[in-house]
Every structure is written in C-alpha cells, then in structure tokens.
Symmetry: C2
Subunit: 727 residues, 2 copies
C-alpha cells in the first residue's frame, strides 16, 4: 500500500484531537445557576435516552444486515459495513454530547457578552464538525489498511463469489459496504430524530402558544423540554450522521469508479476516460494508487482548511459584525480547500481537470446555498411577499408557501444541471463524482456552522426557562439569527451534494452492474436506452421494465415523505392530548405552583419517533433490493434515476417552502403586517406548523434516502439478474 | 385512400347529430321563474364573455404559431394545426353552451322530481361528451382526407424540408400538428379556466362564508355569480378541451408510430415489432391502411358504445338508485367498447394482441379510477381519518391532506407500471400507445358523466339563489354527490391516460428524432442510454446533457405548478378586496336591499385568469423548443422523460390531496367530529381552500402540460441538432 495513506491518517487524528480539545474547552466553562444545570440535565438525559433507544434498534438491524452481507459475500464486507455504521453512530453521539454540554454554558456565557456566548456555541459546533470529518476519514483509512489486500492492483479483478456464483470486485464491495453502514445509520438518525423534533415542536406550539397563550420555551409547558431535546436529537445528532454519510458517499463513489476503470483496462473499453484523468499511458500501478488515494488527500486538505478557518473564527477579536466573521470563515475554508486541492493535484500525475472539478463543486454548492437563502430569508422579496399574503388567512399563506417552494426548485436545478454538464466534459462520470466530493470537501466547517445554530436555539430556551435577564435572551436570539443565514448555505450544500453523490453512486452501480456478465456483449446494454429500444435497435426486451423502474422509482420518495409527515402529525397528536391532559389535571401548572411532568412528554415523543422510523427506513433498504431481484439490474437503474429525479425536486421544495414559512412568521413577529397576535400572525403560525415537518423531517431524510438506495444497489448489484425473472 | 375511413366519418357525424338532438331537447325545456332566467343569463353571459376573451388571446397565439409552422415546414402542417386548435376551441364552446342552458333547467326540473332533474343534467353532459368525441374524430378524418397525398404509402418517405434542410415524414408531421393545436387550446382553457374558477371560489368562500357568515351560493355575495361562472369555464369548458386533447394525442401517437414503422422497413430495422403487429409478411400497402385506420375504427366503436350507454341511462325508468344506473352505464360503455374492438381487430389482418392492449387500457383506467375514489371519497378510511385529524387544527389537517395525496401515488403508479410492462410485451411501444388509446376509447361516456357534475352544482347554486323550496336543493345536492363518485373515476382515467399518451408521444418523438440523420449509425444512439455512456461504451458525448435534461425536465412541472397556484391566490386576493369593498360601501347588500355588483367581480376574475394563463402556457411551448435547440434532440429526450416522471406524481398527488380535503370537509359538514361551525370544520375549510387549486387547477393542467411538451417536441424534432450547439 502506498505511503500516501499516511497523510489522511495523520489528518484525521489531528481533526479528532482538535475536536477533543474543543470539547474540553467547552466542558471546562461554568454551567450557570442551579436551575440551568437542572434544565440542562433534563435535556441531556432526554436526548441520550432517545439516542440510546434508537441505537439499540439500529444495532439489531445492523447485526442482521451485516450477517446477511457476511453470508452472501465475504466477512470483510460485513466488517466494513459495521465500521461505517459504528462511526456514523459515534458521530451523532459525540456531536450531541458536545451540544448538550454547550447549550447551558452558552446561555451562561451570554450573561457576560455576546462574543463569549458565540465562542462557546461555536466551539460546541466545531467539536461536531471536526468529529464528523475525522471519523469519516479515519474509518476509510482503517478499512483501506485493514483490507489492503483487496485494493492491491494485482487483486483488483472481477472474481466469482463462492456462495452464489456472482461476480464482483471485492475491494469496491468493501468500501461500498462501509458507505452503506454510514448511510443506514444516518437515515435512522434523520428519520427518528426528525419525527421526534417536529412532533415535540408542533405539540408544544399547538397547545402552549395557540391554546394556552403562553410564550415559547415557557417552563410551564409540559412539552417544552421535549422540544429542546428534539433540537438536539434531530438537528444535531441527525445532521452529524447525515453529513458524515454524504461525505463518505462522495468519496467512495470516486474510489469505486477508479477500481472499475482500472479493471476496465481489460474489458470495459474506457480508454477515453482514462485519458481524461491525465493518465494517457493508462492506469499504471503507481498512478492507480494516486487516483485511489486522491479523494482522501483532497478531503484531508479540506479538513486542515476547515480547522484553520475554525481557529480564525474562534480567535477573532471582533465584538461586532460576527455574521461577517462567520461568513468570512466559511469563505476562508473554501479558499484554503481550493489551494490545498491545487497543490495535491499539481504534485500528482493526475490531470488538472480534477482540480477544476473540485472547484466546480465548491462554486455550485455556494450558488445553491445562495438561492436557498434568497428564497427563505426575510431579507429578500419572496419571503416578505409570503408574509404579506398571510394577511389573507392561513389557506392563502399555506398555498403561497407551497408555490414559493415549488418555484425555488428552478435555480438549484439549473446549477446542478450546469455543474453536471461541465464536470462531465472535464472528466466523464468520474468528473461528476469529483464535483460531488468538492462540494463536501470542507464539511467540517459546514457542520460546525450548522450545529452552532441549534446550540444557540437551546441556549435561548434555557435562558427563557431559567428566567435570566431579557438581554441574555436577546443575545442568544441574535446568535440564533446569525446561525440561520449560514445554515441556509449549509442546506444548499446538503441538497446539492446529495444530488451529486447519488449520481456518482448510481454511475458506480451502473459500472458495477455492467462489468459482471461475460456472456453479454456490453455495447448492447445501455441501461436506460432500453426505454427506447426500438430506436437504438437494441434487442434485449427490458425496455418496459426500465420505464416501470423510472415511474416506480419516482413514486418512492412520495410514499416515503407521506410516512414521515404522518409519523410527525400522529406523534404530535398523541403528545397534544397528553399536554392538554396535564394542563387540565394539574391546574397548578399554569400559575407555577406545580411542575409539569416533562418526562412523560419526552417518553411519548421518543416512543413515537422510534415507532415511526422503522418502516420508512426499511423502504429505503428493501425496495431497491426487491426491485432488483424481480426486475433485474437494468430496470433497477431506471428505478434509481426515477427516485433521484423525484427526490431532488421534493427535497428542494420541502426545504425552501418550510424555511420560508418559518421566516415569514418571524418577519410578521418583528411587527410587520400587524405583528404578533394579528390575523396575519395566526395565519403565519399555521403556515410554519405545516412547513416544519417539510423542512426538518422530510427534506433532509430525502437527501439520505436517494443515497442509501443507490449505495444498496451498488452493494447488491451482483445478485440481481440481467433480465426480469418472469417473461 | 382506403374506404375504411368512411366508417369513422359516419360515426363522427352520428355523434354530432346526437349531440345536436340532445341539445335541442335541453333547450326545449322550461327555464323556470324569472329570477332563475335572470341568474342563468348572468352566468351565461359571464361565461361567454370570458371564453370569448380567452379565445381572442388564443386565436392570436394560434395565428402566430401556425405562421411559424407554415414558414418552417409546409402549409399543410399549419392548416392541420389550425383545424386541431379550432375544433378544440369549438368543443369548449359547444359544451359550455349546453351546460349553461341546462343548469337553470335542471333546477327547474328538480322542482318536479329527482329523475327529471337528472335527465336534464345528464342530457347537458351528453351534449358535451358526444361533441368532444365527434369533433376530435371528424377533425382527424378531415385531415386524413384533405392531405391524403401525404399518407399514401408511396409518399411516406423521409424527405428533406426545403427551407432548413431537415428531414421528416410529412404525413406524421401533419397529424402531430393537428394534435398540437388541440393540446395548446386545451392548456389555455385548463389554465385560464382553472385560475378563474378557483380564484372565484376561494374569494367567495373567504369573504362570504368565513368573514360574513353567509351560506354558500347566497345571492348577497358579490362573488357568487363569478363562482358559478367559474364552474362552467373551468370544469366544463376546460374539461372538454382537455379530454379532446387526450383523445387526439392517444390516437395520433399510434398513427405516427405506424408511419415510422412503415418507413422503418427500409432503415430502422423494426422487423421484430412488425411481427408483433401480426404482420409477419411486413407492412404491405393493404396492411398499412389497416393499421393506420385501426385507431379511428376502435375509437369509433367506443363512440357508438358510449351513445348506446347514454341512451340506456337517459331512458332508464328507475326512479331510485340512479348512482347504480350511472355506474352500470359506464360499465356498459366499457363492455361494448371491448366487443366492438374485438370485432374490428378480428376482422382485420392485425394481431389479436391489439385487442388485449386496448382491454388493458380499459382495465388500468378503471383500476386507477377506483384508487382515486378510495383515497378521496368519504366512504373510505383515508378521507374519514383526514376528517378526524382536522380536530387538531388547520395545520394538522393540511399536513395530513398532503400526506394522503403523497401516499395515494402508490397504487396508480403500480398500475401504470404494470400496464406498461404488459402492453410492451404485447406490442412494444406501439402496444403502449394502443393501451393509452384503450383508456380513452369511450371518452364520450366519461365526459358526459364528468360534465353532468358541474351542471348539477350550478343547478344547486341557482336553486339557492332563487330561493326555491329546500327539497329542490336537496335533490340537486343528491345529483351532485352522485356525480362526485363517477367523476373520481373520470379523473383516474384522465391522469392514467395522460401518462400513457405522453409515453406514446415521447416514443413517437424518439423515433422521429432517430430516423432523420443518415450520417449517424443508429444502434449507437440510444437516447437516455447516454446517461450511462461509459457503461454502454457509446461514443457520442451527450450523456451529461441527457442527465441535465432529466433534472431540468423534472423541475418544469414544479415551476409551472407554482405559477398556477400563485395565479389563483393572487387573483383571489384582488377579488377578496373587491368583495370586502362592496360589503363595506354598499351596506344594503347584507339586508338584501341592494344588489351587489356581480359584473365587477366577474370581470376582475376574468382579467386575472387571462393575465395569469399566458406565462405558464408559454412555458409549455417554449421550454422544449429552446431546450432542444440548445442541447440537441437526445438531451430533449431526457427532458421529456424527466417532465413526465415528475408530472405524473405531482398530478396524482394534487388531484387526490385536493379531492380528499374537499370531501373531508363535506364529511365534517354532515355532522361528524362536531359538524358545521366546529373547530374541525374551520380546519377542514382551510384544508379545502388549500386543496382546491391543487385539484382543479394544477392537477388537470399538469396532465396537459406533459402531453403538449411531448407533441411540440414531436413536431419540431427535425429542427433540433444532434449534439449540443456548444462544446
């Protein structure tokens, strides 16, 4: 194995060590009053209780799936899968641990100054960001070193598996299984956490704000702790596992493609592509190592860049204009990533095109982020107009919010299409995969900034509940609002990179599906081209199955979303009844003489989240396998493309409709169109409640769904028949 | 030309003559009291004023587009386009004329008996049904006879157009242009009428019901006449043009494919497909005429079957259980269509497979209709549960309604996929086109039943406004509720057939795009297969452009829907202000001493409808042409498939979410969960208002959008470059 692997190994250890030191810095801070400590204790224990129950469900599922992989393929595949799953699980826990330490401490620090509060919150976020990137990278290094045999050029052959007689490249299968483990945990985290957080939020608002007329985060509301727990399990735990999964998916799709290209020297006729990699002499052994490890080096550069940017923000001495500092930090991370990428590519025997592909990813990600912000921030026209339309009542508000979300698909899709075209011209489908990786290369910074938002949000909750002076809440609100802007950019990255990473994974699946059968002449097997078999004159009658795959694939995200939305509203419904019951049976709650039963609310919500997460997660696992087994590998290609197309649009629509409805409500609350308690406000609150599960449960879960289905197809590719099993 | 053409010619004249006689029967009935006559006069003049203004916009657009077709191609193409457009326009007018005659007369007949009212309403619907089918068929016969030269086997060659040097089959272009004319008018009618009807409905409800607390259809509401006008221009005029367009699209996609198959004897290598047609000796001249005219004969059989079923319903002597009679009539029409199809195919030299393909269309259509009913009728669990969830407030109601709509995509998509697979096995893509035709073959009956609903609705409105005895309103409400059930089946047919017809048109486009270039070796050009170029080893670098086409195509239905929703809510907003102004400035309205200014409301709504219809309609026309010109014909294939996938799901989602929210509201009004004026009712009203534009404006327009874009691609196919114009 190439010595190059030492570099990402060192960088990942550096990232984890920095995360550890940031964590210690947070824990060392004072926690504040006794009441704050108690509240934080409630939140921490609620969050950990839920995450542990969730982890138990996952561990059982993982054990079963790993065993299946072991039986079907090789023990190495199962082990790689478990490593991916465990690291993804760990990312969620580490981040949440830091966040639930940082929340009360941020509130306490806000008593001193705004800058101090920002430091604590951002340190908490940095722990998460650095852990996510460090864990993902170290896991990959471990897998590569542990199973190095199977990545040696000499062993990189299409072999026939002992049990089933199917053919595959073992090395490609191992890294794919690693990614699949990470994705599966991420989906569970996102779906379970997403249902938890939004059900608690809806119920707390519906009974507390609307029926009882008490403010948000009021300690008299029995669901308020559950709501704060939700912020941690959904927005922190879910987000960490999600971005770890995206990061891994983007890296491994490059690696799998490289392995197929290497094997393809012999039987895939990919000379043109190899030339585009700048390897005009073909892939030699030395070159091969460079291309295989290049993704690890580039993201390693991104981690170093993020660390420097985090330090820049952390030690900035400015007291004012922190939004600017955060934005500058993000830009700095992007710039440094570009520089390190340039150096790496320049020193390698690879084409400079790879550098441009990574840059393209950075630029497209920032562009998509900008349009997310444009459509969801109340600084711009769309959300302001939405706020205004709320004057005509809730129906018009919801309708307009939906229209806004639908309209907002336009620019991100154009950017995705443009980046696809350009990166494809630069390096074929491998170029597209490098662009996806570019988008995610400074993930540590993105996660740090994204996580800091929910920490600030929680700090605000704790400060209200602990009856700290109002200027503290003002400071945490300011923290929160700065976080919203940077988080919009983060969401853009998440959606854009999901689209690209899925495309890369689908392409890797196609290569892997095509490389197997010796008995089929390859040029006659253009997968989706079979839709149009009569035109191309192709002879294998799978055309209708591909069409069926496309429409069925496009339907899956809808059914998945429906289950998630129902999970939220049904769980919220049960919680609403519990909260109403508490207010009714314990009249002392409202005058402050009785403490509400927070734990009952927490456990009801947790139960709902856990209960409703299993079916949607299993849809993601079972449907591609079942479809592939029945209709064959070509139809499954159609299925994946259909799902991707549908999920991209739905995810953008959900994220932006929900975001805009949320911010329109805040805009009205700032005093526009009648301000709080006006008719416009009531309408905007309804809109916000409709939009909440869309933006925080459905949207992020869809991002994972398409990647998970694609990576599952990639892992199981060799099992699927060439043609449908009937006809 | 074959003498076979005489049969459809005779049948279409028969259909139009029957329509004329039904119309006379309606007009001869008494109109009722002076007040009813006045109200009907208001509605008629409002509807005609709008339709005429709309027609003016369309005529100008048609003149311009026709001139472009003339210049680019041949005069015959322009003339065929105009014939299609004018007949589609005529279908809307004829139907609306009958409906606005029948409404007051139905109310008057309801004073006598329920059966009598049903007779009048159903006769009005039958005029529309028979006109739509008769006009569509006679137009096709006229085009075939007028330009018979270009359908002669001898002239059926790929020729090079004089002006641009592009190659095409002139006969195929002529029938495609006919279909394009019909589609374009249908889209204008659906979008303009859809915005009109829902804006009026929303405004009337929001101010009348919610703010002023006066009942629906109260003559004191200034927007009430506009609301009734809307039912006619949207639900009657729009529906007529819509189904005429579907019917024509399904027929011509078969004809275009047949022509390409015939030409393909020489250069497309479609022998396998020709064998599947049962023409093992290849397409001889005689066989060719049979296959070309077969669609006309089969739909002619469907018209005769529908006419018999209409007479069965019209002269049924039963007084009770009319729902049963209507359902039996629909079944009878389907059965008779199956029998006539069998006879036609059996007498022809064609394969019996064609019969099975048509049957499959009938069965799939009925199946999709059943699931539409299951998800939207309050007789079944989903809508009842939605009604129950409304108890938790409007946000939960809307959220659950959305989830229900998303969930409801499952079964229709499975049915579409299954029917695609089976029909493809039976006859390739031509088999799919025959299945689409089968779904629409008894369109006359479907339209008759669908149109009768809005007539009954209008009759109810007139009876309330004329203060007729309450039992009259009860009878018209019963009429209306029977209509809702049968209409659900009609909607299923509309969506299912749109998906199939679009698939047929896209396939025809692919053939036409592929048949042109002599310099390209065809088997190397699998369109969407280029997505996966590395796999198939294909060499033309259009892969990324196809991917871009897929994602951009999938985005277009979202932006289109957003514009429609906004059109409705913004027009409603202006109307709301006008209605509020009238109530304020004319205090006599509410005590009945002043007559509201109905005409101002009508003209405001009309203005909004006309204003907001142009941009969405132009999106449908311009985007495929622009995309094809810039990115080439292969990328456009991806664009159309992406649009189809996205539009199918969105259309089902919108139709069923809206339908269920409407019926959940009615279910609550029947006294469940608190009944009228309860909290659940208020929430359900909000849900209904959100759902209305989804089900009546967006859903039906999406059905047309995908067909119109596909047929435009088909007409302009020869102009698009093989490869993107840059790179």
């Amino acid at each position: 194995m190439s010595v190059l692997i030492v570099i990402p190994a060192v960088i990942s250890v550096l990232a984890l060590a920095s995360a550890f030191s940031f964590n210690r810095a947070v824990v060392r801070r004072a926690q504040g009053s006794e009441r704050m400590t108690t509240l934080q204790g409630y939140i921490r224990s609620g969050a950990f209780t839920f995450m542990i129950s969730e982890a138990k469900v996952m561990l059982v599922t993982m054990a079963v799936i790993g065993a299946i992989l072991w039986i079907l393929f090789y023990w190495e595949v199962a082990v790689a899968f478990w490593i991916g799953a465990l690291l993804s699980l760990a990312a969620g826990f580490v981040g949440m641990n830091a966040a639930t330490h940082a929340n009360a401490r941020t509130a306490h620090a806000a008593r001193k100054s705004f800058k101090d509060a920002l430091n604590v919150a951002f340190s908490g976020g940095s722990v998460m960001g650095l852990s996510v990137a460090g864990l993902a990278l170290i896991g990959l290094v471990i897998v590569l070193v542990l199973f190095r045999r199977w990545f040696l050029p000499g062993n990189l052959v299409i072999e026939t598996s002992n049990l089933l007689g199917v053919s595959l490249i073992r090395g490609a299968l191992i890294v794919s299984a690693y990614s699949m483990g990470a994705s599966l945990v991420a989906l569970f985290d996102r779906v379970g956490g997403g249902i938890y957080t939004k059900a608690a939020d809806m119920a707390a608002d519906m009974v507390g704000k609307v029926e009882m007329g008490i403010p948000e985060d009021d300690p008299r509301n029995p669901a308020t702790i559950a709501d704060n727990v939700g912020d941690n399990v959904g927005d922190v735990g879910g987000l960490g596992a999600d971005l770890l999964e995206s990061f891994v998916g983007a890296i491994i799709s490059v690696m799998v493609m490289v392995m197929y290209i290497y094997v393809g020297r012999a039987n895939l006729g990919l000379e043109g592509l190899i030339a585009k990699l700048g390897l005009t002499a073909g892939l030699s052994e030395g070159n091969y190592w460079w291309v295989l490890v290049a993704p690890l080096l580039i993201v390693g550069g991104g981690i170093v860049a993020s660390l420097l940017a985090i330090l820049y923000i952390r030690f900035s001495r400015r007291q004012e204009g922190m939004q600017r500092v955060l934005m500058n930090g993000t830009r700095l991370a992007a710039l440094l990533t570009a520089i390190t990428t340039f150096v790496i590519v320049w020193m390698s025997p690879l084409s400079l095109n790879i550098f441009w592909e990574v840059i393209l990813g950075l630029v497209a990600g920032v562009g998509i982020g900008f349009f997310s912000e444009y459509f969801t921030s109340s600084s711009f026209r769309p959300t302001r107009e939405l706020a205004k339309m709320n004057q005509s009542g809730p129906a018009v508000g919801v309708t307009e919010g939906m229209a806004l979300g639908m309209m907002s698909t336009f620019m991100p899709v154009i950017l995705i299409a443009a980046a696809t075209i350009i990166s494809y011209q630069l390096g074929g489908l491998l170029g597209v995969a490098f662009t996806a990786m570019g988008m995610l290369s400074f993930v540590a910074m993105t996660v740090a900034v994204d996580t800091y938002g929910p920490i600030a949000d929680n700090a605000g909750g704790i400060s209200s509940m602990s009856e700290l002076p109002p200027e503290v809440r003002e400071r945490t609100d300011k923290l929160d609002s700065i976080g919203n802007t940077t988080a919009a950019i983060g969401k853009g990255f998440a959606i854009g990179s999901a689209a690209f990473a899925a495309l890369g994974l689908i392409a890797a699946y196609m290569w892997s599906a095509a490389s197997v059968p010796q008995e089929v002449v390859l040029p006659q097997l253009p997968i989706v081209g079979e839709v149009l078999a009569p035109m191309g004159g192709a002879s294998i009658p799978v055309g209708a199955f591909v069409i069926a795959g496309l429409v069925i694939g496009a339907m899956v995200p809808y059914v998945f979303s429906a289950l998630l939305i129902r999970g939220v509203s049904r769980t919220a419904d049960i919680l609403v009844q519990e909260v109403r019951r508490q207010f009714k049976e314990m009249p002392g709650i409202i005058d402050g003489s009785e403490t509400p039963d927070y734990n009952r609310c927490i456990s009801i919500t947790a139960h709902g989240g856990l209960n409703k997460m299993f079916v949607p997660a299993m849809i993601a696992v079972v449907t591609p396998i079942a479809f592939g087994l029945i209709f064959g590998r070509y139809a499954l290609g159609g299925f994946l493309i259909g799902a991707l197309l549908s999920a991209i649009q739905l995810a953008i629509y959900c994220a932006n409709a929900g975001g805009a409805m949320d911010n329109a409500k805040k805009y009205v609350e700032e005093g526009h169109y009648g301000g709080k308690n006006s008719e416009a406000h009531a309408a905007a609150v309804t809109g916000d409640t409709v939009g909440d599960p869309l933006k925080d449960t459905v949207g992020p879960s869809l991002d994972i769904l398409i990647k998970l289905m694609s990576v599952i197809a990639l892992v199981f590719a060799s099992l699927f028949p060439l043609q449908p099993i009937f006809f």
